[in-house]
Amino acid sequence: MKHAATLTVNGMAYPVELEGDTTLVRAIRDDIGLTGTKEGCDDCECGACMVMIDGRPVNSCTYLALQAIGSEITTVEGLADGETLSNLQSAFLDQGGVQCGFCTPGMLVSAHALLRENADPTEEEVRLALGGNLCRCTGYTKIASAVMKAAKASV
């Protein structure tokens, strides 16, 4: 049973037709075509699917797409200003916080949400905020230092 809906992603309204059980990550990737958001575990464990709903990080693999009607969804594509990367994204590149890259969109979204609420976090606060995002490459040290560097650049 298809349900007509409009989802607002990165400030753009997208008319879509979705099944009642379609998860938000599938709608974002398959129906809207924004593939920055990754489906990793598809079980609310790894954080690769992290998006912001009304400014707060949410695992989009475990959220029904139709529940997001009326909310502002932000994906990793919404963090850059056109071709200009955000401070946070630049810091990930500078610090080597990206290896295979699969976790990176989710890491960026969680870190972006943290810095919106807490512009000058301690490293422990950064690590706790990224606790729901798994990375199998970096060992997290360079990711944490990238977030710290981005925070210092903006305060």
Partner: protein
Amino acid sequence: MGDVAFHTVTTVDEALALLGDGSDARVVAGGSDLIVQARHGKSLPGTVIAIHRIDALRSLTSSGDLVVGALTSHATLCADAGVRSNWTAIADASALVGSHATRNVGTLGGNVMNASPAMETGGPLIVLGASVTLRSAAGDREVAIEELWTGPGKTSAKPGEICVAVTVPAQPALTGSAYVRLEYRRAMEIAIVGASACITLDDDGNVAAAKVALTALAPTIIRSPAAEAAIIGTDGNDEALKAVTAGASADAKPISDLRANEDYRRAMAGVIAKRAVAVAAQRARGEEFPIPATPVFMKGSGQ
């Protein structure tokens, strides 16, 4: 997953009308339990009723009794100043649920009705004497939290009832509470074992009343009468805490599974219960203890 009709409602009455007798419909709040279960073989019902836009269920009152609308998120609960100071075990527990993302969508009502024996907020609600309000077409009824859970994933709620609120009574003076979890990691963790304690002191600093609950140590979250008896009437000295350890281990009914075996769970039941009682007593004396009371084992945490 299959062919699913989806409705978003803004009032409890609309939800109840769609829910009918509850035979082929379920409500979804944050979705963090329902969607995961749907992926693990329990298919979604024919009708899903999204209740997350019912603003009336998002209220949080913490003057006098604590009245928590069922849709209140863990993120809201663990940040609330009233909850942190007067019903601290609930703040401990809410702060440990999942990750930031889980706490943003996960609700207290959903947590309670999902009835996991490993849920974080359950033990605190037991030791603080909470009840839930279940609403149906026939009206509201109040159920003591210990009467709600009947088994893993099972409640005494009838099909067609919706949890609308959780009420926790105001606590006496000189009362402190705590929830402590044994965990292998901080985020996205399920309790290996957990323990909750609520301690009320008399004017001489002795324990006048105590409740202890054990999490992930039986088919439902249970009280530990032996641990409670061991601490009541004492000044919380080391001997009494040793007896709490033995009492909680004796009352535990653990299973072996992939996270821990029965013997380890039983041994840790005592250790974690002792810590919960000790922290609750400290808080009852007015001493500060960090929230959550479960220490973070990481570089530089100093705990």
